[in-house]
Symmetry: C2
Subunit: 336 residues, 2 copies
C-alpha cells in the first residue's frame, strides 16, 4: 500500500530531519539509532525506529556517500551479456568484487558503438573505476574516463593511462595445431572473427603455428560471433576448400555453430572434421561431442581485473603488463 498522494504534487523526500521531529529527538540521535551506534537509550532508539518506519524513511545514499567515502563502485562494461564468454567474465568479476565488498554496475553495450559511447558519457559520474571491453579509440576512452582507473580486457593499449589484461593464446593455439597435425591433418582451416577489418590476433597465432608445421594458413573465413555465424562460415569454408579436415575457430560460440552445421551436412566430428574452439566455455561440455578448446581461465581473468583495479585505486603496487596476462591452454574434449 503505497501512501497515495494526489498526482501532480511534489512528493518531497522524507529526510532524517522529519524522522527526528516526529520522534522528538535530534538528527544525530536518529542517525545513532539507524546505524546501531552506541550512546543511545533503548527506548528512544525504538521510538526513533518506529517513527522512521511510520514515515517510510530511507536514508539518501548520496548524502551518506558524500560524508563517508567507504563504498567503492566499479563499472563493468561488456559488449553482450548473452555471449557466454562475457557472461563468465562478468560472473568472475562480480565474484571478485563481492569478496571486496564492492558494488558493480553492469553496462551491456549490445555490441553497438553508440551504446558504448553513451555508456562512457554517463559512467564517469557513477563509478570509481572501470573494467571491461571497449572498441572505441583510446583518446575517446581517455576523454571520458579521465582520472579514473581503467582496466581493459583482451585489448592492447598504448596510453599509459590504462591497464590491460592480455590474453595469451600463442602456446595454446600452437598446441592445438600440433595436436591436429599429430592426428594426421594437413588441411586446417580457421573460422576467424570478421567484425574487425584486420585479422584477429588469434589468427596470427594460428598462422605462426601453421608455419612451423608447414601448413597452409590461408584457409580462413570470417564468421559472425554467434552460433549461426559459425555455421555459415563453415559452409563457406568447405565450399571453397572441400579438402579441409580440421578447423580452429575464433571462439567457442563459433565452434559450436560449426559443430551443428557439420552435423547437418553429415560430417561426423571428429572423424570427418576435427574442431577446436577458443575460450574453453563451460558450455562446451554440454554440446555433442564435447568441445575441444584452447581454454582460458575466465575466473582468473575476472579476478585479475578486479585485483588490478584495487591496486590502481589505492595506488599501491599496480601490476605491470607482464603480470597482467592470462594464458590459454589446449583442453581436449572429443571434437578433436
Amino acid at each position: 500500500m503505497v501512501s497515495s498522494s494526489v498526482s501532480g504534487t511534489e512528493p518531497r523526500r522524507v529526510t532524517i530531519h522529519d524522522v527526528a521531529r516526529s520522534a522528538g529527538v535530534s538528527r544525530q540521535t536518529v542517525s545513532r539509532a539507524l546505524n546501531d551506534k552506541g550512546e543511545i537509550d533503548g527506548t528512544t532508539k525504538q521510538r526513533v525506529l518506529d517513527a522512521a518506519r511510520a514515515l517510510g524513511y530511507r536514508p539518501s545514499r548520496f548524502a551518506r556517500g558524500l560524508v563517508r567515502q567507504d563504498t567503492t563502485t566499479i563499472g563493468l562494461v561488456i559488449p553482450d551479456l548473452l555471449n557466454p564468454f562475457f557472461t563468465e567474465v562478468a560472473a568472475a568479476a562480480l565474484e571478485a568484487a563481492r569478496a571486496r565488498g564492492w558494488h558493480v554496475v553492469v553496462y551491456d553495450t549490445a555490441d553497438r558503438a553508440e551504446e558504448e559511447l553513451g555508456t562512457l558519457q554517463v559512467i564517469g559520474s557513477q563509478v570509481d573505476a572501470v573494467v571491461g571491453y571497449f572498441s572505441c579509440p583510446e583518446d575517446e576512452l581517455e576523454l571520458f574516463t579521465r582520472g579514473m582507473p581503467v582496466v581493459l580486457i583482451g585489448r592492447e593499449h598504448h596510453s599509459a593511462r590504462f591497464s590491460s589484461i592480455r590474453i595469451d593464446g600463442e602456446e595454446g593455439v600452437h598446441a592445438a595445431v600440433a595436436h591436429l597435425v599429430a592426428a594426421g591433418h594437413t588441411r586446417i582451416g580457421m573460422l576467424d572473427h570478421q567484425a574487425r577489418a584486420e585479422p584477429s590476433v588469434r589468427y596470427e597465432w594460428f598462422t605462426a603455428a601453421a608455419a612451423s608445421y608447414g601448413i597452409d594458413p590461408d584457409l580462413v573465413v570470417g564468421a559472425d560471433q554467434s552460433a549461426d555465424g559459425g555455421g555459415t562460415a563453415l559452409r563457406t569454408l568447405l565450399a571453397a576448400h572441400p579438402d579441409v579436415t580440421a578447423i580452429l575457430t575464433f571462439n567457442d560460440i563459433i565452434a559450436i555453430g560449426a559443430l551443428r552445421e557439420a552435423r547437418r551436412i553429415g560430417r561426423s566430428v571428429p572423424r570427418d572434421l576435427a574442431v577446436i574452439g577458443f575460450d574453453g566455455l563451460q558450455l562446451g561440455a554440454l554440446v555433442e561431442p564435447p568441445l575441444s578448446s584452447v581454454a582460458l581461465d575466465t575466473r582468473r581473468l575476472g579476478a585479475l581485473a578486479i585485483d588490478q583495479v584495487a591496486r590502481l585505486l589505492t595506488g599501491v603496487d599496480p601490476l605491470t603488463a607482464d603480470d597482467l596476462v592470462v594464458r590459454a591452454e589446449l583442453r581436449l574434449g572429443e571434437s578433436a
Copy 2:
C-alpha cells in the same frame, strides 16, 4: 561489509573549488564549463577545462547526485549469473533499464543464503529499487528493503509491500503433456527441482495436466539445477521406472543434462526418449537434438519487471497481479 581502508596518507580529493582557484574563477563558472551550460566565455571555458585536466579533477557523484536527483539506480539480484536462464533475465533487465537511462547494480548471490543476506544488508543504501530473485522469508526481505519498490520474479508473495511477476506455465505444460500423449506416450516422467522441500509449482502443473489425460504423475525425481544434475536424475528415474518413454524437466539446463545422459546410455532422443524442458533458453537451440521446451519470453520478463519498477517509483498506475504475468508456451524443437 568488509571495507578496506587505504593505509597511509589520505590524498584529499581535488574538488571543484580547487579547479576554480587554479583557473581564477568561481565554482559556478567551473560547473558551467564542465556541464556545457551557456553563459560562459569561450576562452575562460577552455581555461577551466585545462585546469580541471591538469589537476585530475573528477566530480563527486555523491555531491552531484545529492543536488540533482535525476539518476536512478536499481539493484538486480540473481542467484547465479552462470545459469543461462538468469543470464537471459539479467540481459533483458539491463536492456530495459538502459532504455530508460537507468543504472543497474548486479548482485550474484551464488545461490547462498548468507550472500543473499549480505546483499540485502548493503543494497538498501545503494539503489532506488530492487528487482530479482530471493529465497529468504518475506519479513526479512521487508526489513531490509523498507521504503523501496521491490519486484520479485517467479515467486509468490503475500505482503502487499511487494510486486511479483508470476510465471504461468500451466497451459504450456498442459500443451506439452498433450503433445506427448498425442505421440503415444503413456509413461511420462518428470525431473523436478530438488532444492526446495516441497515439490515445485511446475510439478503441480504437470500433475494437473497428467490427471486430465489419465497419466500417472508419480514418476518424479528431484534434480540438482545443473546439467550434471539432470543426467544423474535421469539415471535415477530410469532405474526406478525403466518403462518411461518421455520426460518433462523443471528447466532447460536439467533437460540438456538429460539429453546428454540419454546419449551416453544409448537412448536415442526423441525415438527412445522424448524430452521437453522448461524456460526456452537460446541455449536449447545449440544442443543435439534442438530442445523442445515450454518457453517463456525472458526478454519480456525483464522488461516487465523494469516497467513495474518505473511505475512504483513514480507512483503512477502500478500494474496489478493480473498484468504481472509471463505465460510460457510450448515451443517444439526436435527432442519431442
